[in-house]
């Protein structure tokens, strides 16, 4: 990037020129606008308390201008800081307005100076911390640790209730076999429906549904019950289809069906 040759703060030495160049090239290298301000402030004075915030604001705004001219994308917080510094600059340059409740430009500048000083202090503190004798680098812990031997023993626990429940569980397993239907004595609704469809067309007269049960399903009560239920369900289905009519004279009276005459 050849723009780096142009100086920001009229650097006198090669180092400073390099630093100014780095400012533009390494925009991503800054840890935010405050960090950038801190770096810029180094070209002014070493003592942050003596720094000219106004000059610093100028430098920062100049930096942002330059970055824009070079079409370098600046993150939003750099632009927010630029706007704020432009505002601060105007407050510092204009005579104070006695009617406003807003803090004076001097107060705002003083706080910025404080922030810079504090950031610088934290940076130095971090360096001081890492300059200490560090564990694993300068100071060492026991190398051959005689780790505490832990003798683990497991005590298994069971209560009388657990025992009784376990016994109850094994002893009653047989009583709880799943119920399996005996298919031989079961008529399905499909079977009844097929049968009924074939038979009901023949009769226009009312007839008990029991008359429709198959011959061999009459005798055994279990088979009769199953067949009756299936035939009844099938007749309901046919009535729904409009093929038959269904009636019952009274509660528990025989259920009768007949072919429905087509209109």
């Amino acid at each position: 990037m050849d723009g780096g040759q142009e100086s920001l703060a009229r650097p006198s030495s090669v180092e400073e020129r390099r630093a100014a160049e780095a400012l533009i090239v390494d925009v991503d290298g800054f840890e935010g606008p405050l960090d950038l301000l801190l770096v810029l402030s180094r070209t002014q004075k070493v003592d942050l308390r003596q720094i000219s915030i106004l000059a610093l604001a100028e430098q920062y705004l100049g930096f942002v201008e330059k970055a824009r001219a070079l079409r370098i994308e600046l993150a939003a917080d750099y632009l927010v800081m630029a706007a704020w510094l432009a505002y601060l600059k105007s407050r510092l340059l204009l005579p104070p307005d006695p009617t406003t409740e807003e803090p004076s430009g001097e107060d705002m500048a003083a706080h910025l100076a404080f922030q810079l000083e504090r950031l610088q202090a934290m940076r130095e503190a971090a360096d001081a911390l890492f300059a200490r004798p560090l564990l694993g680098r300068d100071v060492f812990a026991r190398g051959d640790a005689e780790a505490v031997t832990v003798h683990r023993s497991t005590v298994h626990h069971a209560s009388l209730l657990d025992l009784m429940q376990a016994y109850a569980r094994v002893k009653t397993r047989d009583e709880f076999r799943p119920f399996v239907m005996d298919r031989r004595d079961l008529m399905t609704m499909e079977q009844a429906l097929d049968r009924l469809r074939a038979l009901v067309g023949e009769s226009a007269d009312w007839a008990d549904i029991s008359a429709y049960l198959p011959e061999d399903w009459h005798a055994a009560p279990r088979r009769r019950r199953s067949a009756t239920a299936a035939t009844f369900a099938a007749s309901l289905e046919l009535a729904k289809e409009g093929r038959i009519e269904i009636r019952q004279g009274d509660i528990f009276a025989p259920i009768q069906i007949r072919r429905k005459e087509r209109a």
Binding site: F140, G143, S153, T154, L163, V170
Partner: protein, 205 residues
């Protein structure tokens, strides 16, 4: 931390300085250091023997002692303090379902053979399950059964009765009482551990 004066770089260290250095080296080293190795690490001209002798005397009778291991040196905890470095951790765990059932069957049917237990549980009983109960002191071998093959039987112990607060196995509540107490609902509680049982539990149905 006390900052010590840096020992002179090129002069041989005094005996006290050398002892300090060996102390730090042996402390930080994961394994014993041989005299050759120590010599390599210390400034030239160090009188190793004298320094090691001083250190050995210094640590004699302390909680940590300087030990010679073959040709090497290391700090070791004084043997009489070994007990401080041990800890006993006791973990309480619920007896597995397989073990509880097996224990219950032995308690209710004793003396019970393995075949009998398997018949009642409907699954085979792993050797480990009975071993565990024996190890816990709740079950022991009873008399062999006078049937073909003379199979071993298992019975519950005094320790078992003691643990469960029973004066005799006859005190165990019968099935009728279990039913009255609502314990015969054989639906499994949802929190029961199926995992352990699973291995042994073939489906009965």
């Amino acid at each position: 931390m006390t900052q010590q004066p840096e020992p002179a770089q090129f002069d041989a260290p005094t005996r006290a300085e050398a002892a300090r250095m060996i102390e730090a080296l042996l402390f930080a080293s994961p394994e014993p250091l041989s005299t050759t190795e120590l010599g390599r690490r210390l400034p030239e001209g160090t009188d190793l023997t004298a320094a090691l002798e001083e250190l050995r005397a210094r640590y004699a009778g302390r909680g940590v002692e300087l030990c010679r291991i073959g040709d090497a040196w290391a700090f070791r905890t004084a043997p009489d303090l070994g007990h401080l470095l041990e800890r006993h951790a006791v973990e309480t765990r619920k007896l597995s379902r397989a073990a509880t059932e097996t224990l219950a069957i032995i308690a209710y049917h004793q003396p019970a053979t393995r075949a009998e237990i398997e018949e009642i549980r409907g699954v085979s009983v792993s050797r480990g399950t009975i071993d565990q109960l024996i190890e816990m002191g709740w079950v022991r071998l009873g008399r062999r059964k006078m049937t073909p093959g003379r199979p071993a039987t298992f019975v519950v112990t005094e320790g078992f009765l003691d643990h469960f607060g029973l004066s005799s196995p006859r005190d165990l509540p019968g099935l009728r009482e279990l039913r009255a107490a609502g314990l015969l609902d054989s639906r499994r509680a949802p929190d029961e551990d199926e995992g352990e049982a699973g291995a042994e539990q073939e489906n009965l149905f």
